[in-house]
Symmetry: D5
């Protein structure tokens, strides 16, 4: 399986660009590999955004996220990377990703990254 | 079954137009057809609004939403369409629709659209 | 059973008028009659207020709400009526009523009405 | 859309016929039409069975259940019909269907039908 | 409003008398009057039964239960009365009613009555 | 306040002695005094029984349980005492009490006592 | 048992007065006597505060709250009294008490009182 | 801190030996040390028993369980050890311990041990 | 990554073979590949067993389950395979696996397989 | 076991210092010793922060928190101490710790401490 690539992400034109509406996508089956231990990590990604001219296509988002399955990645870096890729491909007015990982060693971690400011 | 039409929506005069009050309607049995796969989609619509002179009548709202049953529609478009229809028919001071769809391919999507600003 | 009347409501002097404190009363056993179908409606009323000189007495509130038992009333109107009656009797600094009705035809409705502004 | 037909159901050979194991399938997006009112009904089907030589294929089960979408059917009849069809096609050692429908008129109904006795 | 009467209950022929299947009906909007205090009581009725030749019709069950709205009745008696009426009208192979009333004086009561033995 | 006494308990004739039906009473506001520490204990009593000729009256049960408010009593003893008193007063076909106390020192205790065998 | 007295409350010096930190204390076992009916009331107190130079000691808070056990007190008054006592003894930068009482007559009440403004 | 010892456990005479009643004790703050990794383990113990002549005293149970705080012990062994100690000290008619440990490496384990047969 | 192999599983001697005790292991992070679509499947395995002479070691169980990460396997087959491997390695007195998979196409499936009879 | 020391905490360079992102770490297995009673305390720490140049390493955080296992510490002091140590080691743009302790004497306490202001 190849490395995660933003080329996997497809877009379609925002059907209502004249309105600031929010799309929230919850992907509870995210998994990657911890680069330190080699063991799999699991988490739930919640992506919220206000599209500008482009929306991401859901099937392609699913395939893009599956590319992390055998990819080594730390929590903080992987969350920022996914935000960078989605921003690069859709140029949204605003986007936020909340990545809630399952516990390791009795401790669980959530990373929240944001691009721009949510239109009020 | 005919296409969804705002003509199905009935209204009645706002009984307290001198007060900005909020009505929240939750319709958990919304279903339409995915234009790509032909499979049915399911979701819960939460409509909140501050009426101006007209309120929508609940029975007619139910019939209007049932018209989507065999209608092909993407998440983003259908939510905006319903908002447009309800705004056209009731001219509210403010309206918001939150459409939470059930998971597809392990991913679930919520679309939030808003018309105007909630009176403070 | 007579029609709902604000005369049923008793009050007592606010024991701490020098402080803006909030009282929240939840009445989950509200029921009235739908004027259209003749069938009973059921709902939960949540009344929040900051009293000025008078508080409503709880036993009398219960009796007042019971007067709606065989009274025909639409959701929007009944919620505003109860607010009007409670405001007339207690002249509060602020009052809000949230009336959450049980589903009819698969759709459920909540009405939120407010009098004045909550002291900050 | 055609009427529900057991021909839509595909099967595959039970991979472990030497063991009595239970498969539970939960389909929360079942919908049909009430023959009396013409309004849609919604429910969650929970199918449990011990296969003999054949298992039903999940994709075909989904298509089969979708055939009820515009089909008029009472709760009691439709649940028994689905059991009859699944039994006819898979000849299981045991099968049970629990169909939990959403409320109508403030009342909700669940129908539980069973074929044979669960192997102990 | 007249007294509760079993004449209000309609039936229809059991569509699958050759199979012992269970129908569970949950009616969460039951209300009657406490004969002692004159205040309304509220409860949720869960009726389970295996029909013989007749099923009760849901709309008529709803109307029958509404006849208790202004009827004075103690918990134990009303639950047994409803069972008697439903048994008289449908002659089921088995029937059970669980009536869970809301708290009074900080205490809540559930009454469970049964007719016959559930076919195994 | 006097000591708990079974004389406080009133009864009324079982309205359906010909049927074995179960009454479940949940009293979540039970409180007594720990004889060791002098601090109050709190718990929820769940009383289930099949009456023979007599049912306990709920208001008197409430008053009886309130008599424990300033009474010193260990968990095991108090639960058995209440069962003894209720059995003495109502002579039930079967009775069970489950007393779930709130945590002390991070540990919580439930005591379950039973009189006779539940009629099958 | 004596009347509630703020003398029961002990304090200790705030270990970090240079920082505005919030302490939230939840006491779910509060009970007092309704002056009207003589029956016990039950509730959960949630006390939040930013200490200035003094913190209240938890064991003494528990003893202080136990003094209400046989004390007659209305909801609104008792909540304000406890706030007054805690403010008098600790002179906090900010304090809020939320007292959520259990239902009486099917209605439940929460009282929220506040002293000062929470430091931002 | 010394090793866990059954000598820490105190008993008191069963106040109702003539009745088979069940006492359930839930201790959610159990912690010991994993002998392999040296890291702490955490779990919730649920102890159920029917006493014969002796009950264990709760304060001493708490102290006994605290003795495992710095003690190395595998899940299976520690649960059996605690059962052995409690059985040795109280000679119950029946006892069961369910020990539910928190997740390690994404996997959580519960151990259920039983002594004798619960009196029917 | 190699194919799943029972050689990955380590065991240790049952510390209490003289007692029939149950160990329940819950592994919520199981994932494999659907052979039909190539997409990943996710599920929670609950393994319950009464060991005879050998217990499985948890770390090795985790590694064994991780070997399914890139392995193609249908629900029914994979659950039976895991049971076969665990039985082969530990020869338990009884073992049961419940595998609850996440929804696909709006439908979710649970497979329950059992080896032997739970000692009573 | 030595006293808690900030030297135990390791850091790594913030992978995205150009973005203000939030990391939330939940450690539900915190335990220390009450200096007054000698009994263990238990709580859940929720640490949220916006890193500047350094992030804390999770394994070292776990070891650092384990150093409190046999350390005497009051709720208010220990929460402030942990904040001081984490701030000293990572110099974050913002950090907040919420420490929710389990009930003692029926009362539970949460302490919330904050360093700096969350970047907007």
């Amino acid at each position: 399986m190849s490395d995660p690539s933003r080329d996997t992400l497809d877009t379609f034109p925002n059907p209502y660009p004249e309105r600031n509406f929010v799309v929230v996508t919850v992907a509870p089956e995210f998994t990657s590999i911890c680069p330190k231990t080699g063991h799999p990590d699991f988490g739930t990604l919640t992506i919220s955004y206000v599209a500008d001219e482009l929306c991401y296509e859901l099937k392609s988002l699913k395939l893009y996220l599956q590319e992390y399955r055998n990819h080594g990645a730390y929590y903080e870096r992987v969350t920022n990377m996914i935000l960078d890729d989605l921003v690069a491909v859709t140029s949204p007015r605003w986007m936020k990703i909340e990545a809630a990982f399952t516990p390791r060693g009795g401790i669980r971690t959530t990373v929240v990254v944001e691009h721009g400011k949510q239109p009020g």
